[in-house]
């Protein structure tokens, strides 16, 4: 059979067609959209650039000790030392604490909503999770101070009494209030909805045929969960956890009220009443800060921003990879 286009004519040159706006109004319309995109990129760039510009002096003067040291003295104008080691480590410790507490709750809630509950109960549970996400952090902080701290301090005391032989649960200071453990719980309450909703979305997009196939092969609920559901959605869950981690690192006022800030590094004594948090430190110090101290606080904010930016970017990439249908 001969080809359709057997003509000997050479293939003409291709013109790229693009739906270019012709009318002035259309040009304005698309121009505004493009300007918004440039603006959004600009906002992030501007914030980053300005923070970098402002913190340059501090970073140059303090060097690597800015991150690793644990001294903060603005008293002597000749020798001001700004080091955020305990705060940075505290932020990470609290965030990890929160994530460890939040992940089982979030995965359980997502599994409950998607696979266990009837559709009516699932709807109610979804509302509960969404509602939890909508509660402002200052309200959670208030609850943390007024209601939760005594309860969690009691839990911490029990842990200390019964598992005190573990380094994690020793407490030499004697106070159980204001610990990274309590701050971790507060953060967990705030990031459970984030991780739940990402996980739930991943679960709901799982191929039901695969799950049904597993069931048809005689797999039980638990083996379907462990061998089919978890492995296929692990990427998305990790992304959701990273999103939660980013949020946890940036949490400010709620932690400010429940945590006892201390410039002595607290490595793992999570139930001891001292810890650190960059975000809380900024709120605590900026009011009475000297100009140099403000610059140091900005440098601390920059460090926090860069960390959360990296984590969120990573999370966005992972979530996007895990949800190819979004494209």
């Amino acid at each position: 059979m001969s080809s359709v286009s057997e003509s000997s004519k050479p293939v003409p040159a291709k013109r790229k067609l693009a739906a270019k706006p012709h009318l002035v109004q259309d040009k304005v319309f698309f121009g505004v959209a493009r300007a918004a995109a440039v603006g959004a990129v600009g906002i992030v760039g501007l914030i980053l650039a300005y923070l970098l510009f402002m913190s340059w002096e501090t970073l140059a003067k303090q060097g690597f000790n800015f991150i690793f040291g644990s001294q903060w003295t603005a008293a002597d104008p000749e020798n001001m030392i700004f080091q955020i080691g305990p705060m940075l480590w505290g932020s990470l410790l609290i965030a990890f604490n929160g994530v460890i507490l939040a992940v089982p709750m979030a995965i359980a809630a997502a599994y409950f909503i998607e696979f266990l509950a009837t559709s009516r109960i699932a709807k109610i549970a979804t509302t509960v999770v969404d509602l939890l996400a909508a509660i402002p952090s200052i309200v959670i902080g208030l609850w943390g101070v007024g209601v939760f701290t005594p309860v969690a301090a009691h839990w911490a005391e029990l842990l200390n009494q019964n598992l005190g032989f573990l380094p994690l649960f020793k407490n030499e200071a004697g106070s159980f209030v204001g610990s990274p453990f309590i701050a971790g719980w507060i953060v967990a309450v705030m990031i459970v909805p984030i991780i739940t909703s990402v996980t739930r979305e991943i679960f709901s997009q799982l191929d039901r045929d695969v799950i049904n196939a597993a069931t048809a092969l005689g797999a039980s609920r638990s083996s379907t969960f462990m061998k089919v559901i978890l492995p296929t959605s692990s990427g998305g869950i990790v992304g959701g956890v990273l999103l939660g981690l980013g949020r946890a690192l940036g949490e400010t006022v709620a932690i400010f009220f429940v945590l006892n800030l201390s410039f002595e590094i607290n490595w793992v004594d999570v139930i001891e009443g001292r810890g650190g948090s960059i975000a809380s430190m900024i709120v605590a110090f900026f009011g009475a800060a000297t100009p140099e101290e403000v610059k140091a606080l900005i440098a601390a904010g920059l460090v926090l921003f860069v960390i959360t930016l990296l984590i969120n970017w990573l999370a966005a990439v992972i979530v996007a990879k895990a949800q190819p249908w979004r494209k």
Binding site: M1, S3, V4, S5, E6, S7, K9, V11, P12, A13, K14, R15, K16, L17, A18, A19, H22, L23
Partner: protein, 268 residues
Amino acid sequence: MSDLSNAANLSTIEAHLRSEDVNVWFGERHVLRDVSLTFPVNQVTALIGPSGCGKSTFLRTLNRMHELIPSAGFAGRILLDGEDIYEPGVDPTNVRLKIGMVFQKPNPFPTMSIKENVLSGLKLSGRRGYDATEIVETSLRRASIWNEVKDRLGDPATSLSGGQQQRLCIARSLAMNPEVILMDEPCSALDPGSTRRIEETIEELSETMTIVIVTHNMQQAQRVSHQTAFFLAEDGNPGGVVEFGKTEDVFNNPIDLRTNDYVNGHFG
């Protein structure tokens, strides 16, 4: 092209819309090669061929809807009354005012009433100073749906059945009074009764306008069209026209063996 000897029979009729050596690409993929067809005034042309042969793509080049797809590439000329619509400086929206389009799936605007849907084209193109009542009635009558909807013009368009929605979409195009209407498998989502009514509408419309219709339905092509073009894409080669001529010739007397096989249902 050597296969197009039937086209000689058509040369006496006044050409209204004409494609000259149209080539189409999606990105690097060459999907249509050297399509040259003539669409005479007030005639219905059917484009037939198996799925993926590029006939719908070709249809979309005729009113510059093709370029809405990112990475679209094009070469050749499309002449409406002798003017190339791909000439730089031609505003595609003006082309689409003259060459209307009806899609495969009925797509009335869900937020508008029946009446607003008919007038939507005029509003969307910023036309002013028209007699709305008259245009609504005429357009709906020409799309033979007036009697069904005249008492409920304020109802949402989505309250209509699928077939009615498609005729509403035809009315919406007719309200713009285009010279040409392109129809992309307008009946593929409809039941036989609705299909029949739309075919009747096409017949009536062809008295006043040029129509190009893509269809998978051989009977439909024979019932409604005056001339037929058979498209085919073989083994990864770009698609093209195998045979083009009067509908009775293409169906009863095809020159090319492949046309014969296709119209007799041997493949596709």
